[in-house]
């Protein structure tokens, strides 16, 4: 292996390969795209979902495993192919059927519509969450909609109605964290002792003109 080659981090931590292919194809119907006009596939939304499922969303593992299996059983029956093997047009037809809760086999209390809602919600998260979570690769999701990301702040000039900010460099959480390390003085430092470190000096809270010097007494009866 070439030591200079960057390590491949697209390994899957929960999905089996055909599950990833299925969920990736679903996400690509939800937010379609291609290399020139990225959508959920190009944003690597499936990796967001995969990492979430082996992490905080582990409770949804069963729903994905069952849902993908049921969906592919339906498409095998109807088209002789797995969902991700279908044409985009056929995939769209199936997604419509799924959204309406009309794909059979999902069982009581776990309708096809619920599966769609879940994949959809996670696709949106994967498209528009910080790239640190595995999706929104190269901030393509943010660039699509014009969101500049994790910005420290905006100037009055930037907040003018109609001003195009697409040239403003997009910042990720990683970027702002670098800023925190390099420029801590830009951030707020709470004065006074922290709990369990009780100092002897009472910090002076600064006064504004007109601030009462003594605590006010009880008003009214």
């Amino acid at each position: 292996m070439d030591p200079k080659r960057e390590t491949d981090t697209t390994g899957l931590t929960f999905f089996f390969l055909d599950e990833a292919d299925t969920v990736e194809a679903l996400s690509a119907r939800i937010i379609p795209g291609d290399a020139e006009d990225p959508g959920a596939r190009e944003a690597r939304v499936v990796y967001y979902i995969d990492r979430a499922l082996s992490g905080p969303y582990f409770g949804w593992q069963g729903a994905y495993r069952e849902g993908v299996r049921t969906l592919n059983a339906y498409t095998e029956e109807r088209y002789g192919k797995k969902f991700f093997e279908l044409s985009e047009e056929d995939q769209d037809t199936v997604v419509g059927t799924l959204e309406r809760g009309e794909v059979p086999g999902f069982g009581e209390g776990s309708e096809a519509g619920d599966f769609f809602t879940m994949v959809w919600s996670h696709t949106v998260e994967g498209m528009f969450s910080d790239p640190a979570y595995g999706g929104n690769r190269n901030a393509v999701g943010w660039k699509l909609i014009g969101f500049p990301g994790a910005q420290y702040g905006y100037t009055a000039e930037e907040m003018r109605y109609g001003k195009d900010l697409s040239d403003k460099p997009v910042m990720t959480l990683g970027d702002i964290q670098k800023c925190v390390r390099e420029r801590p003085e830009l951030f707020y430092h709470r004065p006074g002792p922290e709990p369990s470190v009780l100092g002897e000096v009472t910090p002076e809270m600064p006064t504004r003109p007109g601030e009462p010097e003594e605590p006010l007494g009880e008003g009214g009866a």
């Binding site: 937010i31 919600s121 498209m127 969450s129 943010w142 909609i145 951030f187 910090p203 007494g217 008003g219």
Partner: protein
């Protein structure tokens, strides 16, 4: 602090209220235990808060159903379920959960609108009866006058504004109407300590439209400083505001405004990540201690001569019920909240709705309940209309704010996202539910939290008054949006499918009559003389304004009372509340 097991005062919940009480009472020389379910955040903990998924979509600061379950049913005839809008794969909205836990509580992540109530809001019954007659009060409602007045609280409102840092433009100083402020506001003694924030430029379209329609737009008061103040820096308009801590200390979080001095006294011991399970009352009917579970799941008791519950209206009430403290049956009653009537739209050009705080948008208060004759409309209530010009992040926009006529998948969805997000604007309002017997909270008979504690059960549904009020204010927003030249508008459902709003009021209401209220005019429990319940739960009626400033003013009012009572040898001294040397 000599003795860990006992303090003069035990405060349960160190949020928007508890931290104020901690500072006031420790500075008065009392030893205090400050207990909170959540952690103590250091200021650098929020330096990297720029993460919508963590703090908003996953409600990173809020108590969620897995650790703090609550149930809801629309009426007593329907079985309750765990809050349906707070479970499932869809994005959470922290606005549909109780406020955040941790020292600072909801004041860490609030949106910071800092209104005072109107003078009339404190005497709602008298006002409406005078204007419309008693017949107009809806059947089954329990609209009353507060036992305290705006004038009682005015000096305390002033304190909150000057001590925590509120930015705004006064509209009425001592009866003189000031240009550029809210002409309808109650009279105040002096200007705000800080000038208004900078709104986004689409705000000007709102202002122009309102003026053209004959309304009186103004910058609302907000608890975000617009100029540097000591270590706290002025707002930098990052747009990660509501749902997030502040990386520059501009937001008035009690963590920053109250805790430093409280900690410096040496009289405060913080018990964080501790869940209070019960208030323990002795055979003589005095509160003696609270039982709590610490972060290691070990059980403890913290005893005090004075016990204060300030853990949010709903948690205060849950603790009272779990402790068996509901002699007169009023605990849990008069559950009220706000209907936000979210209204969204797009404008022809870029609005930068991701920049700046939402609360920097201007507002009109012509729509308050007392500024115009409501005889021709058949509802009671009113609310400002607030322009929502910032603070909207992508995931929320792409999921919770979608226009109902735009597909949520496919090419059209992508096109909408591409063009719609950058042109987004919003308006919202806060029509309050009326206090009635139909809406209340109690303990769920089945559902428990992971520690075996009964969950709170909410019984609430929107009623006719809510519907009519919502329809009325919706058409006003439509009028403004039309005048603004909006290219598209849409609204959230008229009556929301969620029933928790971070603006829950009532359930332990204030009143002079011990038969029909839970606490007296100083928030002391009628049933247990050394127990206080402070927070939105004491509101006997609700207004159209965000409640926090009023709650914090009442908190200063209560703190002063407690201090003076003890100083003057009042009833509290019977319970051996002592000062440290």
């Amino acid at each position: 602090m000599a003795n860990k097991k006992h303090a003069d005062v035990v405060i349960v919940g160190m949020g928007a209220v508890g931290a104020i009480l901690a500072r006031e009472l420790t500075e008065a020389g009392f030893t205090v235990f400050g207990i909170d379910k959540g952690p103590y955040f250091r200021s650098d903990d929020f330096w990297t808060k720029f993460d919508e998924l963590r703090y908003s979509t996953r409600a990173g600061l809020s108590p969620t159903m897995d650790t703090d379950p609550m149930t809801w049913r629309p009426n007593a005839q329907t079985p309750a379920q765990i809050l349906p809008w707070a479970v499932g794969p869809q994005p959470l909205n922290p606005l549909w959960l109780p406020p955040s836990v941790g020292v600072g509580g909801g004041s860490i992540h609030w949106a910071c609108w800092a209104w005072r109530q109107l003078r009339e809001d404190f005497r709602q019954r008298s006002e409406w009866v005078e204007r419309y007659g008693e017949e107009k009060l809806p059947e089954g409602s329990h609209i009353v006058d507060w036992p305290i007045s705006y004038d009682d609280l005015e000096p305390h409102y002033d304190r909150v504004e000057y001590e925590t840092g509120v930015s705004g433009k006064a509209g009425n100083i001592d009866g003189e109407i000031e240009d550029g402020g809210n002409p309808f506001e109650a009279p105040r003694k002096r200007p705000y300590p800080f000038p208004p924030l900078r709104p986004s430029a689409s705000n000007q379209l709102f202002v122009d439209a309102c003026e053209a329609l004959g309304y009186h737009p103004f910058p609302p008061p907000v608890a975000i400083i617009s100029e540097d103040w000591g270590e706290r820096k002025a707002c930098v308009y990052c747009g990660f505001c509501r749902d997030y801590g502040c990386h520059v200390g501009a937001k008035a979080s009690t963590l920053d405004t109250m805790m430093p001095r409280a900690l410096a006294t040496g009289n405060l011991e913080l018990l964080t990540n501790c869940r209070v399970q019960r208030v323990n009352v002795d055979a003589e009917g005095l509160a003696r201690s609270v039982s709590y579970i610490d972060a290691k799941d070990e059980r403890h008791e913290a005893s005090g001569d004075l016990i204060i519950l300030s853990a949010y209206s709903l948690e205060n009430t849950r603790l009272m019920l779990v402790s068996g403290l509901n002699q007169n049956g009023m605990v849990g009653k008069r559950f009220m909240m706000h209907n936000y009537n979210w209204f969204s739209g797009t404008l022809p050009e870029e609005t930068h709705v991701y920049a700046g705080p939402a609360c920097a948008g201007w507002a009109i208060d012509d729509t308050n309940p007392y500024s115009e004759d409501r005889n021709e409309v058949d509802f009671l209530g009113g609310s400002p209309v607030m322009y929502f010009s910032g603070d909207v992040q992508p995931i929320e926009a792409a999921s919770l704010l979608m226009p109902p006529d735009v597909p949520i998948w496919g090419k059209e969805y992508k096109e909408w996202l591409k063009h719609g997000y950058r042109r987004l604007f919003g308006m919202y309002s806060q029509m309050a539910t009326l206090p009635s017997n139909a809406n209340f909270v109690d303990l769920d008979p089945k559902v428990k939290d992971p520690y075996g504690q009964p969950a709170l059960r909410i019984t609430h549904d929107w009623d006719d008054n809510d519907r009519k009020a919502a329809l009325w204010i919706r058409q006003i927003k439509h009028g403004i949006a039309r005048e603004m030249g909006a290219t598209k508008t849409w609204e959230a459902p008229l009556l929301p499918p969620y029933h928790v709003t971070t603006h829950e009021m009532g359930t332990h209401i204030m009143g002079e009559d011990p038969g029909t209220s839970v606490v007296d005019p100083h928030c002391r429990s009628h049933e247990v003389p050394n127990l206080f319940l402070v927070g939105g739960g004491i509101f006997p009626t609700y207004s159209g304004y965000n409640p926090t400033l009023t709650i914090q003013a009442i908190t200063f009012w209560v703190a002063d009372h407690i201090k003076q009572e003890i100083q003057n040898g009042g009833v509290l001294t019977r319970f051996s509340v002592t000062r440290s040397a």
